[in-house]
Symmetry: C2
Subunit: 144 residues, 2 copies
């Protein structure tokens, strides 16, 4: 392996960590965290998700997620409901305070997207996003 900054996982982590840290600081005054935002964003895309589903889409480990959701529930951001068709499962729903918080975080999220991609053309942006999806998919190879 050559220099560190030619090593893909290194570059990936470095960029991700930097964005994550900055974003986290920014939403803190709103009483949120990056992880809370991840859950809210996932619910914004599709409300009433299972814990396992949320864990997959947010990349938050499921036992960590349980406790995060405990916390969000206490804050009135979300509500747990038993799935009527499968009593093992929980369906997590946004609550009004969660919707309000989402609306406050959205512009910050959009700003981060813009800042991170400053100077990228629409084409370059698409190539990058496609590559990131491909990286993710490539990891299937090691899961088996």
């Amino acid at each position: 392996m050559g220099p560190l900054d030619s090593y893909l996982p290194y570059l990936l982590n470095r960029a991700g960590a930097r964005i994550a840290t900055a974003f986290n600081e920014e939403v803190r005054p709103l009483g949120a965290t990056l992880q809370i935002w991840r859950v809210l964003a996932a619910l914004r895309e599709h409300d009433g998700r299972r814990m396992g589903d949320l864990s997959d889409t947010t990349s938050i480990e499921v036992s960590t997620l349980t406790r995060l959701v405990d916390n969000m529930e206490q804050k009135g951001l979300v509500a747990r409901r038993r799935d009527a068709n499968d009593a093992r499962a929980i369906l997590l729903h946004v609550a009004p305070a969660g919707r309000r918080l989402t609306q406050r975080i959205l512009p910050i999220a959009e700003r981060y997207e813009a800042v991170a991609l400053a100077g990228f053309s629409a084409g370059e942006t698409e190539v990058l996003k496609a590559a990131l999806r491909r990286l993710y998919a490539n990891m299937d190879e090691l899961e088996s």
Copy 2:
């Protein structure tokens, strides 16, 4: 903001988290962790680094790093030495066990690079890496 999987920080985190989790599992049997590897890899590139320098290059928060290094020192992987020119600073050096561990992890790291980038041409790979460096640099904008 549109669908989650068109949101750059999401894609970045998702890919990074997946690689990190898998890598971490893989090095665990060797008595290592991803964070330990990050430190070893940074020292491999340039031995005798300051804590702050290491924190920057590994993206590990400096107070976390202190304790990680305590741990690595106990395992005989690294050694702290006071900087002779500046008694505030520590210079961290690999120790023999650290070098051996590095040698055992290197092939795993190379495999991860290969798996993640499977199907990418050399050109595509370079475009991706350049983009990740650019993302990182773009975040300067928010630091001020």
